[in-house]
């Protein structure tokens, strides 16, 4: 096992007493608890960690956290593997197994690197210009492209881990636990407000964790952090979330936080989810998300070992890892000097400080000179050398405006280059919240401008570079937020901070070299997607000038790092090449999530059996115990048929139908939608939502109704019963129940708020057993003594309250089969008891349960339609031949105007008819289409389609219904249903196939 050659003897926040063993591409390595994979790799002097997307160039670790574009890792194996994780964010655990990606056969010798040799053929957008001939070969080209693209691999099987979503409310949500966020949390917390503080790192402290030259209140900054965190932890109203990225900012201060609960342990725990997605509604939001350092764009700036300056410093200070012993600093501000000193203090021999500024001054510059570090003011890096690791840089003095070189080059050997290009405030969440960004020319950065939500940005993300200021602003923000919410503010004192300033930043977006950009070497802007400055310039040359066009054409900023280090550089280079200011190029919109977020976390527990509700009726246990087969209807499981041993589907259905017509049969009708309607205007309400008249319906009487959409098309149907003057019981189709309820509520709330009507869904409250057949009155009589069941006393389409099997019941005399039939409604908890009582009492009558299939056959024999099967949202009552149900005299109802339109009265509309096959045993397939003239092959003009089709035991033959153009006038005509392989002639008939006189209804 390699020793940790780059690990310093002391220092950093790692626990040297807890060594951890891990693997990278199969190699066993050692790190310490507290390391990230990136710091542990660097400790072992591993810089080459990946290959770039397009050219397969060797790449190393660039950054320290979520901004990392290069170091993408495939973690773990099998079902638990995860692609594209940033090594800079993976916390080391014992046994961690990491692999590099996008290389074959291995990282050091990657065949894909031949792309690099042909790189000149592959400028931005090259694929739009080629692979077109011959056209037929595109699918072959595409397959090659697809296999070359993509980064890591997906897991091999289902995810063994669990996720959850969590709702929370708070007064103040603070995103980011650096100095500004901690100060805000302290101020808000001390005032007693409910605070959530979330930070994506394992520890709070933010940038302070990577600096050792800042003291707060006279002690090292990290001690201040520890004190503050301890105090926050003692506050009951404060929730501290670590490893928790505030990743989405939605309307009305609704934010999401992705918390990685167990990832750092390497194994899942049985009691907690792997990740948790917090959904927080916050009174106020404080954004304290800091800033991300910008890389510098110089020739071949992508070699392993070329890193962000704060990262090089952070690895040294926080992890005790010296990324290189001969670092070269390239900086546009004073911050680079801090890195130089931090490294020099840790035995590095600084190769020099290349300062982009012509005439840098200030204490840090003076200190560099005192320390004997060479400062190369006004210089540019003109080239770099090295293969799998940076070995040297060429530098040269620049002209005053920075656009060219003013002297000869010189080579400096180095094993790390630290780039300090200035900072980009992390304004992503602010932008997601629809806040407007503004460009600050002096700071050369986008800053939060006008807010859209109740939110404030403080610290680095507001453009502040000083810890003093960040803490002050944090405290103020915390206090302001709690005051705004009506809390009494209690002000913590701002501690005294000692720190170095950043000095002036010279934003030099493209460092000059000896060759024009694009000629020799590559100036990378987006490391992950291999987008160079030349690519950006090519895009503008070719007319892709809006930044969105440039992004899409070159793919800059479209990688998994979402352009955290590249976007502003790209904007500026595009601006330069167009000769306009950065704001004129535009800003790109930031979209959720801030960092890529696990799909499973969004799904939460809504997977597997919790994905969608399965609704079952009170009688369900009986159906199951008695061998029913089920079908899904909407969310419901309905008994489909009840086969006896050895019976086929058809045999079972035929038997059930036959009993329903000749004896007594029992259906579980509980799933029908039921809505309780009350209020003085209830009758008028029904008048408006149904097509027929309801005002005169007597108490205790039922009526069948159609609801139309505004366009005059049938939407739902059902029987509604008047229970009292101001009280109705409505039924809807099973699948349409929720839709109808929403529809009625929408009309009540938005169109007719003046109506006195209240709606309650009671679908779940009533269990319904429907008995049908000539013997059903006898059966009911055995169980019910308080209702007179005679035809005169209890006529068709009436309802009676009574007691059935000693259960209080509403009994409806309605029929969906054409037989004498009673629908017995009882409170759901008695449903099973009622069912069992009916089965017992009817045993000697041969009572038979029937399922939805037999129900369909029974209703089709009578020509009763099913909304959603015989209609599809494009069928009017007239098309169904049900003109009688549409009132001609009512002043209005929903759909009246739509229905009045002339095209809906044309004779060639598709109309519902019956179809009879020549062969009475042949059952047409539902969905088959009807034509007048059969052609040898398609296309053929279609007249319509078969909506319902069954074998009818009662009619002794197959029956079908169809929607056919001009169907009502075609009775008797022969039409054809062309199926694949054969054509079936059919005769157009009426839709009633059994008992046309309706003589069986009264038993």
């Amino acid at each position: 096992m390699a020793n940790q050659s780059n690990r310093l003897a002391a220092g950093g926040r790692v626990d040297r007493r807890r060594p951890l063993v891990f693997r990278f591409d199969g190699r066993r390595l050692q790190g310490y608890a507290g390391d990230t994979l990136a710091s542990a790799l660097l400790a072992n002097d591993v810089h080459l960690v990946g290959r770039s997307f397009k050219y397969h160039r060797p790449r190393g670790i660039l950054g320290l956290g979520s901004e990392e574009p290069n170091a993408l890792i495939q973690l773990g194996r099998g079902n638990r593997t995860e692609p594209n994780l940033r090594a800079t964010q993976i916390e080391l655990f014992d046994g961690l197994d990491a692999h590099s990606q996008n290389r074959w056969p291995c990282l050091r010798f990657d065949v894909g690197a031949v792309n690099s040799a042909f790189h000149r053929l592959f400028p931005a957008g090259f694929y739009y210009k080629t692979f077109m001939w011959p056209a037929s070969l595109w699918s072959t080209y595409e397959e090659v492209i697809r296999h070359a693209a993509g980064l890591g691999r997906a897991p091999e099987g289902p995810d063994p881990d669990r996720y959850e979503r969590m709702h929370a409310h708070c007064d103040v949500l603070i995103a980011g636990g650096g100095p500004a966020g901690l100060a805000a949390a302290l101020a808000a917390g001390r005032s007693g407000a409910r605070v959530i503080l979330a930070d994506e790192q394992a520890e709070f402290g933010g940038s302070l964790l990577g600096d050792d030259d800042v003291t707060i209140g006279g002690t090292p900054a990290v001690d201040w952090v520890a004190e503050v965190v301890a105090e926050l932890e003692s506050m009951p109203e404060v929730t501290l979330l670590r490893r928790a990225t505030v990743n989405g900012y939605y309307d009305h201060n609704y934010l999401t936080i992705a918390e990685r609960v167990t990832d750092h342990l390497g194994v899942g725990l049985p009691t907690v989810p792997r990740q948790r997605l917090w959904k927080v509604r916050a009174g106020r939001v404080v954004l304290a998300t800091g800033a991300i350092e910008r890389p510098l764009v110089f020739r071949d700036n992508d070699r392993p070992g070329v890193m962000l300056s704060t990262a090089v410093r952070g690895y040294a200070v926080r992890y005790g890892v010296l990324a290189g012993r001969r670092p070269l600093i390239v900086t546009g501000n004073d911050d680079g000097y801090r890195t130089a000193f931090a490294l020099a203090d840790r035995q590095a021999r600084v190769a020099g400080i290349v300062d982009l500024r012509t005439d840098p001054i200030g204490p840090l510059v003076a200190e560099a000179k005192n320390r004997g570090i060479e400062v190369l003011a006004g210089h540019s890096v003109t080239a770099t050398h090295g293969g799998r690791r940076i070995e040297a840089a060429e530098i040269a003095p620049m002209t005053a405006d920075g656009s060219g070189l003013a002297g000869s080059t010189r080579t400096l050997e180095c094993d790390v280059i630290a780039m300090a290009g200035g900072f980009n405030p992390t304004v992503h969440l602010f932008s997601q919240s629809r806040g407007k960004l503004r460009w600050d020319g002096e700071r050369a950065a986008f800053l939060p401008g006008t807010s859209h939500e109740a939110e404030v940005s403080v610290g680095g993300c507001a453009g502040t570079s000083s810890v003093t200021q960040a803490i002050k602003d944090g405290i103020k923000a915390g206090l302001d937020q709690v005051r705004a919410l009506g809390h009494t503010a209690r002000q913590p004192a701002a501690p005294a901070v000692e720190e170095h300033g950043q000095g002036e930043t010279r934003p030099l977006w493209l460092l000059p070299s000896t060759q024009p950009v694009g000629r020799k070497g590559k100036h990378f802007v987006d490391f992950q997607n291999d987008v160079t400055a030349a690519d950006l310039m090519l895009a503008t040359r070719e007319g892709y000038r809006s930044i969105e066009h440039v992004k899409r054409y070159t793919t800059t900023g479209m990688g998994t790092d979402q352009g955290k280090t590249s976007n502003v550089n790209a904007l500026a280079i595009v601006g330069q090449s167009l000769g306009v200011d950065v704001p004129a190029v535009g800003t790109t919109t930031f979209r959720a999530p801030y960092t890529p977020t696990t799909i499973g976390a969004y799904g939460g527990r809504d997977v597997g059996h919790l994905f969608a509700p399965t609704r079952t009726t009170a009688m369900d246990p009986w159906h199951r115990a008695n061998g029913a087969k089920f079908e899904h209807v909407g969310d419901w499981m309905r008994a489909w048929y009840y086969p006896k041993a050895g019976e086929t589907f058809r045999q079972a259905v035929d038997r059930e139908v036959t009993v329903a017509r000749n004896g007594v049969a029992l259906l579980d009708a509980s799933t029908l939608g039921k809505i309780d309607i009350r209020g003085g205007d209830a009758a008028e309400f029904l008048n408006r939502v149904y097509t027929n008249a309801w005002a005169k319906l007597g108490t205790g009487r039922c009526r069948y109704g159609f609801m139309l959409k505004e366009d005059g098309m049938v939407m739902d149907d059902g029987v509604t019963t008047r229970l009292a003057d101001d009280h109705f019981h409505m039924t809807t189709t099973t699948g349409g129940a929720a839709r109808v309820m929403n529809w009625l509520e929408e009309y009540l709330q938005t169109e007719w708020p003046e109506m006195d009507v209240r709606l309650t869904s009671v679908t779940e409250q009533w269990a319904v057993a429907s008995i049908c057949g000539p013997k059903c009155r006898e059966l009911l009589g055995r169980l019910c003594s308080d209702i007179d069941l005679g035809n005169d006393a209890f006529p068709f389409m009436a309802m009676r309250d009574g007691t059935v099997a000693e259960i209080p019941a509403r009994v409806f005399r309605i029929s969906f089969t054409g037989e004498l039939s009673f629908e017995i409604n009882v409170p759901t908890r008695y449903g099973l008891a009622l069912w069992e009582a009916l089965m017992t009492a009817g045993a000697d009558l041969g009572i038979t349960p029937y399922g939805t299939e037999a129900m369909h056959v029974l209703r089709a024999e009578k020509g009763f339609i099913i909304v959603g099967q015989d209609t599809d949202g494009s069928v009017t009552p007239l098309d169904l031949g049900m003109d009688w149900i549409v009132s001609k005299s009512k002043p209005d109802f929903i759909g009246k105007r739509g229905l009045a339109r002339p095209d809906l009265h044309k004779p060639d509309r598709k109309q519902l008819v019956g179809l009879l096959t020549e062969d009475p045993t042949f059952v047409l397939p539902e969905g088959g289409h009807v034509v007048e003239t059969v052609k040898p092959k398609p296309p053929m003009a279609m007249l319509g389609h078969v909506t319902s089709s069954y074998y009818s035991p009662s009619a002794g033959r197959s029956i079908a219904m169809a929607l056919v153009k001009g169907g009502h006038a075609r009775k008797g005509q022969t039409l054809y249903v062309p199926l694949e392989g054969r054509t079936i002639p059919v005769t157009v008939a009426g839709t009633v196939f059994f008992d046309p006189e309706g003589s069986r209804r009264d038993g």
């Binding site: 077109m132 699918s139 993509g150 793919t555 289409h929």
Partner: protein
Amino acid sequence: MAEAGRRRGPTGKPRYSILALARNALSYHENWQAAWRSPEPKPSYDAIVVGGGGHGLATAYYLASVHGIRNVAVLEKGWIGGGNTGRNTTIIRSNYLWDESAAIYEHALKLWEGLSQELNFNLMFSQRGVITLAHSEHELKEMRRRVEAIRLNGIDTEVLSTADVKKLVPIINTDQGIRHPVMGGFIQRRGGTARHDAVAWGYARAADDLGVDIIQNCEVTGFLKDGNGAIEGVETSRGTIRSKRIGCVAAGHSAVLADLAGFKLPIQARPLQALVSEPIKPVIDTVVMSNAVHMYISQSDKGELVLGAGTDSYNSYAQRGSLNIIEHQLAAACELYPIVSRLRVLRTWGGIVDTCPDASPIVSRTPVDGLYFNCGWGTGGFKATPGSGHVFADLMARDRPNPVAAPFTLERFKGGYLIDEHGAAGVAH
């Protein structure tokens, strides 16, 4: 399409090819020309197209290439392709239920086949097949109906068993015990995807080559009419521009434009969201749509999984949607494709879709003479882009509806002859 003709531009732009790439490589790609000019608007044009999405740019291209009307401007308020064209999930298919829809989408699909070559721009039109799943007895029946209608319309379609689906989509969960088991499906093999931006750019370049002015950052803010109420021009953020023939192709903002022109459209504007995962090596080679589980998926050539679902429930012009839609969609993704659970969402976004009550488009004259509207493509108009532009150019050039577009006039809302793809089509992408 021979009718559309080969591009022979007066500007004589060099063609794209591997040879052109090689040649330009020698000069370090410093000599490529702009794909389209960015001219100042002229005071007047023979025709103006408002809206530089795919449909608008295609309209301009066909006006120039088919009808020889070349003095044309496309006015785009932002950047071309920045509306739904650049936000959609690019599913292309023509297997619609109703004859009228099938005709117009098939017209488009035939144009897609060969469009890269015609435009000399690789649109990455990929006929990788589009599968629609069925999850219940009811959906199987609906599917049979659709498959029969599609077949008899002469459009390719194939029924798939659960095992067939599994073969084509190895990562799909075909366990029959799940809440919405995969019980079968059907595929249109000629369906697939294309690169959305390339469609806008390819049409723009080809139209520009024929003399069309593409004018970006130019928002139409009003309409000019003559004494008889006929169209005379537009007011824009870049001044007045005159024309007696104006076509509006503004998708989500169509109703806003109609309002400016003085009439109303039966259109609702709602956010529709989509998202992509981080790129991974290929796991799915076709497009799969599901209605009951309410999501659809494909994988881009870059390796990102592209996932979509239904519209948000609230009308809005903000190009963003609500989280609950994303949550549901991703739970659905985990349910049907369990391996995606550990992958990560990279980007989410929304577009504003323009939906008619019958979920079919409007390609029509309007109450204002000389003013035409092409809109209402809603959640599924990307696939129609070439066909829509082609028939709309025809309408604008001849002032009478092209036969394929004739059912899609505004008159249908008065007469009632709706083409209701809502009721029947399920997920309408």
